[in-house]
């Protein structure tokens, strides 16, 4: 009886969003009378950082400090339409809509400032610190706050913008079946090292090494956070969590956290991540977002590593000790595949 080491590899091309129905999202941007900007979305931040990233995108586009931008994702009844937070589409689709809305709002902001400074709006620039100045004449300047006050109380103008991002619809060619369901892909490669106990059938992941290409990492720490948490979930799906219809039948299904298995803090393994930045052309500031694919490649990599360790090919998930032991038994013993 022995512990066998195994290494498995997997890579992934992951579609960002889906092109069905154009996959639209909208954003509205408006300034408050004191020169702060509000971004209204119906896109939900469920912890992945939608609010942080759209805030950065809006601030960058408007040319104002991040601290002067608020993102409100409160309510799909009162907010502009969004398809939703799924399919890894948030950064790309919503980010693009925010850029458009913020661009329109910036135009209104510069026009209002131009009226106050009695210059042409095209001669103005923002310094990103809350000021608007005449290009080449930094002395002629007005704050964003004063511009907003003037727009609100003197000019009778809103500093606001609307934005929508819609992918051109792609129909299926009836002759060839050809279509373009996806316009933007992210990529990753991942290596899992693990150990298989051929007496108990237990699999323990020992290390994960991964490389992710997610366009530009708009918020590198958030990207890393997604990749760490997602890989944990991948390990959980590969080795622990059993979904419908359950084995051997539904009555064995988990009913609470006592019976629904997930790895705990004691099972955390070292995960080394390399993020490769290749800004995507049609993405907001080049960022595609890691999204769902942070969990996906872990599953096949673990399945491959189990095969590498003991020669058992598990083609259903999760890879339970029972499946590993039955596989070893059917093979007449563990068959380590060796290093390649």
């Amino acid at each position: 009886m022995a512990i066998h080491k195994g290494r498995g590899f997997a890579c992934i091309n992951y579609p960002i969003g889906m092109n069905l129905g154009g996959d639209p999202s909208q954003a509205l941007v408006h300034s408050t009378p004191d020169g702060k900007f509000m971004v209204s979305l119906s896109s939900i931040d469920l912890g992945q950082g939608m609010k942080s990233v759209t805030r950065q995108i809006a601030a960058e586009t408007l040319g104002v400090p991040v601290s002067d931008v608020y993102v409100d994702t409160a309510d799909s009844d009162t907010g502009p339409h969004c398809m939703g937070s799924f399919a890894s589409r948030g950064t790309h689709r919503v980010g693009n809509a925010v850029i458009r809305a913020a661009t329109e709002a910036r135009k209104a902001l510069l026009e209002a400032a131009a009226e106050e400074l009695e210059v042409n709006a095209t001669d103005l620039e923002t310094d990103g610190q809350g000021n608007i100045q005449v290009k080449g004449a930094p002395g002629r300047t007005i704050t964003v706050a004063d511009t907003a006050i003037a727009a609100q109380f003197k000019q009778g103008r809103t500093l606001s913008g609307r934005g929508i991002f819609l992918i051109p619809p792609s129909d299926v060619d009836p002759d060839t079946g050809e279509m373009t369901p996806v316009s933007c892909f992210a990529h990753a490669a991942l290596v899992v090292d693990l150990e298989v106990d051929d007496e108990t059938g237990e699999v323990s992941v020992t290390e994960i090494n991964s490389a992710y290409e997610v366009g530009r990492a708009l918020n590198p720490r958030l990207v890393e956070q997604q990749l760490i948490g997602g890989a944990w979930m991948g390990v959980s799906h590969a080795l622990y969590e059993t979904t419908e219809p359950y084995y051997p039948d539904r009555s064995h299904g988990p009913v609470d956290f006592n019976t629904y298995l997930m790895p705990g803090p004691g099972e955390v393994v070292n995960h080394n991540i390399a993020v490769l930045e290749r800004p995507a052309e049609d993405a907001p500031f080049g960022g595609k977002g890691p999204g769902e694919m942070c969990a996906n490649p872990v599953l096949p990599a673990i399945a491959n590593a189990v095969y590498n360790a003991v020669g058992v090919r598990c083609d259903t998930l999760p890879i339970t000790p029972e499946k590993v032991l039955r596989g070893i038994l059917a093979n007449g013993g563990a068959r380590p595949q060796g290093a390649r």
Binding site: G47, E224, Q225, G229, M233, D256, P265, G266, V268, H271
Partner: protein, 160 residues
């Protein structure tokens, strides 16, 4: 239903409320006192999101009969910050990106605080042990372990 008066200290301030018969502390804190910082995850002691500190010990408030805290000191996440000054653990959770959806966070913070109050420089194994009753679906635990290491002034896996 008979109501029972209960008096205890909540985050250093005296509280006097009536508890319903059989009411658990989580329910009393959230509905009776209005402290929404402890979260209801499972109501059966398996997730840790309702963790509070009672007389220095981490406790699952969903499994604690409310009337039993009579005369005791209860701490919740609401009491961690001192005005605008965040607790070292809150700062460290922020710096280490230890929360995503945040549902587990109050429980994690209280489990971690109970540990650090007892053991100011815990080992990684002690940290894992201290939060092993707290489920997190989002972070993969590593950033939380790092945050607790950082809050106790120790190097993290990230900072080496």
């Amino acid at each position: 239903m008979t109501k029972k008066p209960v008096q205890f200290q909540l985050n250093g301030s005296p509280v006097a409320v009536f508890s319903d018969e059989g009411q658990n502390l989580l329910d009393l804190l959230r509905r009776g006192v209005g402290d929404l910082s402890p979260k209801y995850g499972c109501g059966q002691g398996t997730c840790g999101s309702c963790t509070v500190i009672i007389d220095g010990e981490p406790r699952l408030s969903c499994l604690t009969l409310a009337e039993t805290v009579e005369g005791q000191h209860v701490e919740t996440t609401n009491g961690l910050a001192n005005g605008p000054d965040l607790h070292a653990l809150q700062e460290a959770f922020m710096e280490n990106f230890a929360a995503q959806c945040g549902y587990c966070t109050p429980g994690m913070l209280m489990a971690a605080k109970a540990l650090l109050d007892r053991t100011p420089r815990p080992s990684r194994a002690e940290i894992v042990e201290a939060i092993s009753g707290n489920i997190c679906r989002c972070t993969g635990y590593e950033p939380i372990i790092d945050a607790i290491l950082a809050a106790s002034g120790q190097p993290t896996r990230r900072t080496g």
